[in-house]
């Protein structure tokens, strides 16, 4: 066992940090106020990720054959931590490199791999995830969007909702059913700028225009747009969610925000109050726990072991860390929530979605209870 980074990993972190800050413009604080799904940050990500790619730091964990450097999952996470701490200038392209790309690697045809992975690797393409529907959130099997077979492919009809990044996306990784039941769902890689696709903004708790509704009205796609076989969607989704659920090291950004608030509390004297320090300590400990369990998952991945419910355990810890951090902000530093848009307010507003995204907390708890603790399922 070893809980410290190697010298090589420390050097990699330094390289990554220096590169990130060399690529961020003076206006980054303004660009990033809306968060990862905002139009400003998404459009910026095209330029940023392209340049990150030129430095070999967009997909360093990908296999060499797909344009990566075959770096270990540890390096992938060092990179993710540094980017998250900087405000995630990749925008939603973190999804591309974390799980959409790897899912295409695992299930795509040679043509899909050649086309999409190259675009993702270059950092110029934006994706959104078309999973949730008005009547199907965490219960994905209830989705209604239909893909009807035609002579050359499929016609898609239905609508998706709460879709982050749809306003700028070039492609959507979409779930649609070809028949009844859980085993008749397909994954499609659908261009967003084609006839029949309409995107509507939904205003709400998440800043920067994060949510959208996407309508698919008689959208024609060729058979080559389908990822994997008909009916294989469940397997593909489970595969991709293993990456998504720990894909964002929120604890890294939380650490930056907590540090900033504490410095102000130290300057104005409130830090002398032991109760204030205790609340900070709880938040720090919760974030340390989230990091420790995330690393446990990475360690299993490094060993080449198949995904386990450890991912869900780590997800629960991440959610607890988000809650502890925002409780600290809300109770100890509420002034940050009334001063207009700031990175602290952005974190606070985004955090409320963490227990819902990538499968609600209750789904994670079910999985931990039944797959990790092996408690009996209800028939």
């Amino acid at each position: 066992m070893k809980f410290q980074w190697s010298q090589q990993q420390d050097e990699f972190r330094s390289e990554v940090r220096a590169t990130i800050y060399s690529l961020l413009p003076p206006s980054w604080a303004t660009i990033s106020t809306g968060g990862v799904g905002s139009t400003a940050q998404l459009e910026f990500s095209r330029e940023f990720c392209s340049r990150l790619s030129q430095h070999g730091l967009l997909v360093p964990h990908w296999p060499v054959e797909f344009g990566g450097r075959a770096m270990s999952p540890w390096e992938q996470f060092i990179l993710a931590e540094e980017l998250c701490a900087a405000g995630e200038p990749r925008g939603l392209q973190y999804m591309n490199v974390n799980y959409i790309g790897p899912t295409i690697m695992a299930y795509g045809t040679p043509e899909q791999r050649a086309y999409h992975l190259e675009l993702i690797r270059q950092g110029r393409t934006l994706w959104c995830q078309g999973y949730s529907e008005p009547d199907a959130g965490s219960d994905l099997a209830a989705l209604r969007t239909k893909a009807t077979r035609t002579a050359t492919g499929y016609v898609i009809n239905g609508n998706k909702v709460w879709t982050s990044g749809a306003q700028c996306a070039d492609y959507c990784i979409l779930l649609a059913r070809t028949g009844e039941g859980k085993n008749n769902i397909c994954v499609f890689l659908v261009p967003m700028k084609i006839s029949g696709v309409t995107v509507r903004d939904i205003d709400g708790m998440i800043p920067g225009g994060g949510f959208h509704e996407v309508f698919f009205d008689n959208v024609e796609v060729p058979e080559s747009a389908r990822l994997g076989a008909e009916g294989q969607a469940w397997e593909i989704v489970r595969y991709s969610l293993q990456f998504e659920r720990i894909g964002v090291p929120h604890y890294a950004k939380n650490g930056v925000v907590l540090d900033k608030i504490v410095k102000e509390l130290q300057a104005n004297g409130r830090w002398r109050d032991p109760l204030v320090r205790a609340r900070a300590g709880r938040a720090l400990a919760a974030n340390a726990a989230a990091r420790a369990l995330t690393y446990q998952v990475i360690a299993l991945r490094v060993q080449g072991l198949p995904p386990t419910a450890d991912v869900n355990v780590a997800r629960i810890a991440t959610i607890a860390a988000q809650k502890a951090t925002t409780e600290f902000i809300g109770e100890i530093a509420p002034q940050y929530l009334a001063n207009g848009i700031s990175e602290i307010e952005g974190l606070y507003r985004h955090a409320i979605s963490t227990p819902i995204a990538a499968g609600a907390t209750e789904v994670q708890l079910d999985i931990v209870a039944q797959s990790f603790l092996k408690l009996p399922r209800v028939k």
Binding site: M1, K2, F3, Q4, W5, S6, Q9, W74, D259, V262, Q266, W271, R272, P274, L275, R277, A278, R279, A280, G281, R282, L284, A285, A286, A288, A289, A290, A292, L293, Y295, Q296, I298, A299, L300, Q303, V313, I316, A317, A320, E362, Q364, L365, D366, V368, A369, Q370, F372, L373, K374, L375, P376, R377, V378
Partner: protein
């Protein structure tokens, strides 16, 4: 960064588990708040496990693994202070069991775990640390409702004690926190295992209690917290960073509160009796969660250590 046991650590843990299986289990007919682990401790000494931190290629992380295995047993023995703290403070071995006394408030006549069986006390005076050899007459045995042999120091002075100096204070506290964090996380995991096993077997309303979602969700949170506590504790042992130690203990003490209540809630009335062995661990948790002023005070200390004052 590597969360897996290496070959040497795997051998260490296997050997400890074998020893624990033979000497670490209270017999099924035993009834009482704690079961004496003196034979287990003697075997650990005889096989060199309590001085493993001094062995070539090993250190506090491997000593923490010793605590991690032994604290899961129903037999209770002083291991953490001897294996984890002593090597950080002394070049030579110190005869145990060792009792740890927080007298930073000037008061050393409080109930202390392991004191009734201890050969030495390590006493935190706030500005100094004293190693005090103990005679039976120095200690009053207390029949406390906790899962440890407990005693109270009756001496009015600490004459004859060896003073380690002011620099020893923070070293003692750091490793005391690590020791507590490791012991608490192991205790939580043992209590959780016992509870989960019971809930798979015990039926209510025609189905296993463990199949109810309201039970499953709370146990899932307990599992997340207990495993988090373990990784944070082992990490603190490895990094040797005082801030990591405080963070690990703050987390463990907070989690211990949840786990104490939930494991007893779900095991119902049987879990409140000494006929069911859950109390061996939960009564230990109740003691450890109050050290250093408890979860809230430890969290404040952790914040100071991470962020400064």
């Amino acid at each position: 960064m590597d969360y897996a046991l290496n070959d040497d650590e795997r051998m260490l843990v296997d050997a400890l588990e074998q020893l624990a299986e033979k000497y670490g289990q209270a017999p099924s007919q035993h009834v009482g708040p704690w079961y004496d682990g003196t034979p287990l401790r003697q075997e650990l000494i005889a096989n060199g496990f309590l001085r493993i931190a001094r062995e070539e290629g090993f250190g506090p992380l491997q000593a923490a693994l010793v605590v991690d295995v032994i604290a899961r047993q129903t037999a209770v023995a002083e291991v953490a202070a001897s294996a984890l703290i002593v090597p950080q403070l002394f070049a030579e071995d110190i005869e145990g069991p060792i009792a740890l006394i927080d007298a930073s408030d000037g008061c050393w006549d409080k109930p202390v775990r392991f004191l009734s069986v201890a050969r030495h006390a390590l006493i935190d005076l706030g500005d100094d640390v004293v190693l005090l050899p103990l005679q039976p007459a120095d200690v009053e045995v207390i029949d406390a409702f906790v899962a440890y042999p407990t005693g109270r120091l009756t001496r009015g002075d600490l004459g004859g004690g060896r003073r380690l100096g002011a620099d020893a204070v923070e070293i003692l506290r750091q490793w005391w926190r690590v020791a507590l964090a490791v012991e608490m996380s192991a205790t939580m995991l043992a209590a959780l295992d016992k509870t989960v096993a019971y809930l798979k077997e015990r039926h209510a309303f025609g189905r296993p209690i463990g199949s109810f979602q309201s039970v499953q969700h709370r146990l899932a949170v307990c599992a997340q917290q207990a495993h988090s506590a373990r990784w944070l504790a082992l990490r603190a042992a490895d990094t040797r960073d005082p801030a990591d130690a405080a963070i690990a203990l703050a987390y463990a003490q907070e989690a211990g509160n949840t786990l104490y209540w939930d494991t007893h809630q779900f095991t119902g009335a049987i879990g409140l009796t000494f006929e069911y062995p859950l109390h061996y661990w939960t009564l230990r948790l109740r003691v450890m969660q109050s050290d250093f002023g408890g979860a809230l005070a430890t969290a404040a200390t952790a914040a100071e250590m991470v962020c400064g004052l």
